[in-house]
């Protein structure tokens, strides 16, 4: 177990190294830079821009900049934002809650709804319900999330006026109900794709379990269909789903970014776009690293949980 953990951790660190290298190269090799946002300020001159660039160390060779950034990173210093001078970790941290709230809500919706659909599809395999759900899931996977968001805004905000078109809460209100009103549309839009994925996988997983011996035995022992379903089938089909949840993380995170841009949600996706717009490289790099880290931890945690609850899997 420990050996497995150590090797997984080693691999993950190597991955992070590669991620950091790719990210840094992509950002810094490109033309333009963080100072171009000041170019159109009245009174700005090339001379002044050169001076600021040299003060910020932007005129150093790229490998030097990378090593400098990386050597700070390994001791836990993620650098400071070019925009507000705050430590990158602080900047990311201050946007984390909004993203987690959105992702969390969406995940709750997609897991509960997706699993239910998946289980019923499996139990009624070949039925009209199963078939309809299959088709719907594929369509859901094909709708561009941002466009679905736009249409939702058009219907529920602009036409019906039921829900706010953006933001996380109303300034000066901020009650739970107010948060909910703002949360519901982006969360449902974000959950759409995942409901589809979860229902598909849950269907497969349930089918696998139903056909296994212990379920047949349980039925043979005379347990009611309902008890078998709840006790044996659902529990066992959910185990592989935990791994799936880990693997889905990059997608949910990417989806959150898309959703946040449409609904002006003040989370990490919004921060990412803003930081890109201002060429705030330390924050962009921080977000790339943080998301990679989050994904790796998610995968690792999923594997561990599965190992802990399913004695049949050994991690060596």
């Amino acid at each position: 177990m420990l050996r497995y953990l150590a090797s997984r951790l080693g691999q993950s660190l190597l991955l992070l190294l590669i991620v950091s290298f790719i990210g840094f190269a992509v950002l810094n090799l490109a033309p333009g830079g963080p100072l171009s946002q000041f170019a159109l300020s009245p009174g700005m001159t090339q001379e002044q821009i050169d001076k600021i660039a040299s003060q910020m160390g932007l005129d150093r060779p790229l490998p030097v900049q990378y090593l400098d950034w990386f050597s700070h990173l390994v001791v836990g210093d993620w650098g400071t934002s070019y925009r507000d001078g705050q430590p990158v970790l602080h900047v990311i941290g201050s946007h984390l809650f909004a993203t987690l709230l959105l992702m969390g809500t969406a995940t709750v919706i997609s897991v509960s709804l997706g699993s239910t659909i998946g289980i019923f599809s499996a139990l009624k395999r070949g039925s009209t319900f199963d078939y309809t759900m299959t088709v719907l899931a594929m369509i859901a996977l094909s709708i561009p999330t941002f466009w679905f968001g736009l249409i939702a805004i058009y219907v529920f905000s602009l036409s019906l006026g039921w829900l706010p078109a953006g933001n996380m809460y109303t300034v000066g209100d901020g009650s739970v109900l107010d948060y909910l009103r703002h949360l519901i549309m982006p969360a449902v839009v974000l959950a759409l794709v995942d409901v589809a994925i979860w229902s598909r996988y849950m269907r497969t997983s349930t089918l696998n379990v139903i056909n296994q011996d212990f379920v047949r035995t349980a039925r043979a022992k005379g347990l009611t269909r309902r008890r078998v379903l709840l006790k044996h089938v659902v529990g066992n089909s959910l185990v592989p789903m935990i791994t799936l949840a880990g693997l889905q993380l990059p997608m949910v995170l990417g989806g959150a970014l898309v959703t946040e841009t449409v609904f002006t949600w003040p989370g990490m996706g919004r921060l990412f776009l803003d930081s890109l717009g201002y060429s705030d490289y330390p924050v962009v790099m921080g977000l790339l690293m943080a998301s990679a880290l989050l994904v790796l931890i998610g995968n690792l945690a999923a594997d561990l949980i599965v190992a802990l609850i399913d004695p049949r899997i050994r991690l060596d």
Partner: protein, 550 residues
């Protein structure tokens, strides 16, 4: 300013008039400065929305327009411009002029008298040391300062007493007063013992002398400011000012309509919403000119653009009226120059542009540009084909660009659209004149001062070895001469003549094809009083101390 729609052409004499002429601080100014009024009656909350997020709170560091929205609330400048382009004192007891002895006749010695009894938000008294510190920090080579123009002439800043300081200038530089008007004063004591002033704790917990104290910031969402009860001028009248970040202009407008936002700020109401906005109950909506002008900038080093006939023909083929009326819903004002029409220095007798495709064709024919086999004109192996660039994602501008492309094609000119993300567009591509032509909105002035040397002086082009922002690579000895003369003169009437002549020369040369002077659509709830357009300031909160509710 409470008219439903007021185009805000305040054609009074403006800008720097105080520098030489005596006694121009009229009685109207005195009311602004009822020092130490009781401010215990600040009430209510106001939500002001911006579509960009203010993030830089040290006003002397590199920042963008929206950051200044916070500075005017938290900090004070020594003095500032009112909407008529006239100075009024803030931290200064009076605005230094030649007449009151603040500036010597030759413009080389300055004396600045400060108000007494002003305190910082933390209770520390404000003194001349703070002003000296702020000015010197701007010049500190280790400090990442926003500006250098003007400051490089400043010498020997001396504190005479707590409320008086003096300095010398190495050469007379008329725009200095305008530069000082946008220099916010920060507290010396907040930087004591701070090794790296670029990362002082102050930068995220600003302390000012302004009408509002910085209370907290929720990153990515809003900043909360609270009334400074000890403010040294009239006001503030609001207990809480919330600066809200709404990254999408449609959401911002929707929230303004629904009442979640009290004042709609920077980037404002989009032109396509103007007609609807004007009918909203309980809202004041006004169109206000800004100092930014839209133009098609030409890279004068390109062979196509070196022929004046080509530039004239392109200008004649520019259907300004359709662009302004259809695409921009008639909001901006057509212009022939870079100078805002509200300015004292605006030349209103420049030749008027006429859209005339036949004339454009004739101009090109005459100059020997004849259509080739594919219909594109050429002369001596140079084809009338060039790229046009701007910020990718600026919808209205992209629409205008495509429209212009179509009209230019009609006179045998091929314009290819080549847009870039902002970080690329306004980086070296712009600064080093790597473009053929651009669509750009520029504000070439410093406050209300008419000096534009950085943009039009031939020695200021980075691609020709200069250090300014003459990215059109425009070179005209006459313009150079006028710019030098204008910057060293302190007499407004004299300067007016100089800059009017310069506008005429540039209008004839057409290094850029002027399209329009920007105007923005501002809006606020009708129980709010105070917001007032000011073409001499970049942002709405220039007078936030006066804002009231009810």
């Amino acid at each position: 300013m409470t008219d439903k729609k007021k185009t805000g052409h305040l054609n009074r004499r403006s800008a720097l008039t105080l520098m030489g002429a005596a006694g121009l601080i009229g009685p109207s100014m005195i009311g602004r400065d009822r020092a130490f009024a009781a401010n215990a009656d600040a009430t209510g909350q106001l939500v002001l929305a911006f579509s960009q997020e203010p993030t830089v709170f040290n006003p002397l560091m590199p920042h963008i327009e929206v950051d200044e929205g916070v500075y005017y609330a938290v900090f004070d400048t020594l003095f500032d411009f009112d909407p008529d382009g006239e100075f009024f004192p803030i931290l200064a007891a009076e605005v230094p002029t030649v007449a009151n002895g603040g500036i010597s006749e030759d413009g080389l010695s300055w004396t600045l008298k400060l108000k007494e009894g002003v305190t910082w938000h933390d209770g520390t008294p404000f003194t001349a040391e703070d002003v000296k510190f702020s000015l010197e920090l701007t010049m500190d080579p280790d400090f990442r300062s926003f500006r250098s123009t003007g400051y490089k002439f400043m010498r020997n800043i001396t504190v005479v007493s707590d409320t008086e300081l003096t300095w010398e200038m190495s050469e007379p530089f008329a725009p200095m007063a305008a530069i000082l008007a946008s220099t916010y004063i920060i507290p010396k004591h907040a930087f004591e013992g701070v090794e790296d002033k670029n990362s002082a704790p102050f930068n995220n917990a600003p302390i000012g002398t302004g009408p509002f104290k910085f209370k907290n910031r929720m990153a990515g969402d809003h900043i909360e400011l609270e009334a400074n009860a000890d403010y040294h001028m009239d006001g503030p009248f609001l207990k809480t000012l919330i600066i809200k970040y709404v990254p999408d202009l449609n959401v911002m407008y929707t929230q303004f309509k629904s009442g979640d936002i009290d004042v709609i700020g920077l980037q404002y109401i989009t032109p396509d919403h103007l007609a609807e906005a004007e009918t909203l109950a309980g809202k004041v909506v006004t169109v206000a000119g800004t100092a930014t002008f839209e133009s098609i900038g030409l890279n004068m080093t390109r062979p196509q653009f070196q022929d004046l006939a080509v530039r004239k023909a392109l200008y004649a083929a520019l259907d300004k009226t359709s662009i302004i009326d259809a695409l921009y819903y008639g909001v901006p004002t057509p212009t022939e120059t870079y100078m805002p029409q509200q300015s004292y220095y605006y030349n209103d007798s420049l030749p008027k542009h006429e859209f005339d495709l036949e004339k454009a064709k004739a101009l090109l024919d005459e100059a020997g540009w004849v259509p080739g086999s594919d219909g594109i004109r050429e002369k001596d192996g140079v084809r009338l084909e060039f790229s046009n660039s701007t910020t990718a994602g600026n919808h209205l501008r992209e629409q205008a660009q495509q429209f212009i492309q179509q009209t230019f094609a009609e006179i045998g000119v091929k314009m290819e659209i080549k847009n870039f993300p902002p970080a690329v567009m306004w980086g070296d591509y712009w600064m080093n004149s790597e473009f053929d032509s651009v669509v750009v909105g520029l504000n070439t002035l410093a406050g209300a001062d008419p000096d534009t040397s950085d943009y039009f002086m031939s020695t200021m082009s980075p691609t020709l070895g200069g250090a300014g922002q003459n990215t059109f690579a425009y070179q005209n000895p006459k313009v150079d001469e006028l710019l030098v003369k204008g910057a060293s003169s302190f007499v407004p009437e004299e300067r007016k003549a100089i800059y009017e002549e310069m506008q005429a020369v540039i209008r004839e040369d057409l290094p850029f094809l002027p399209v329009f002077q920007y105007a923005v659509i501002k809006g606020w709830k009708d129980d709010v009083t105070g917001p007032a357009p000011n073409v001499n300031n970049r942002i709405d909160t220039w007078n936030v101390r006066d804002w009231k509710r009810g």
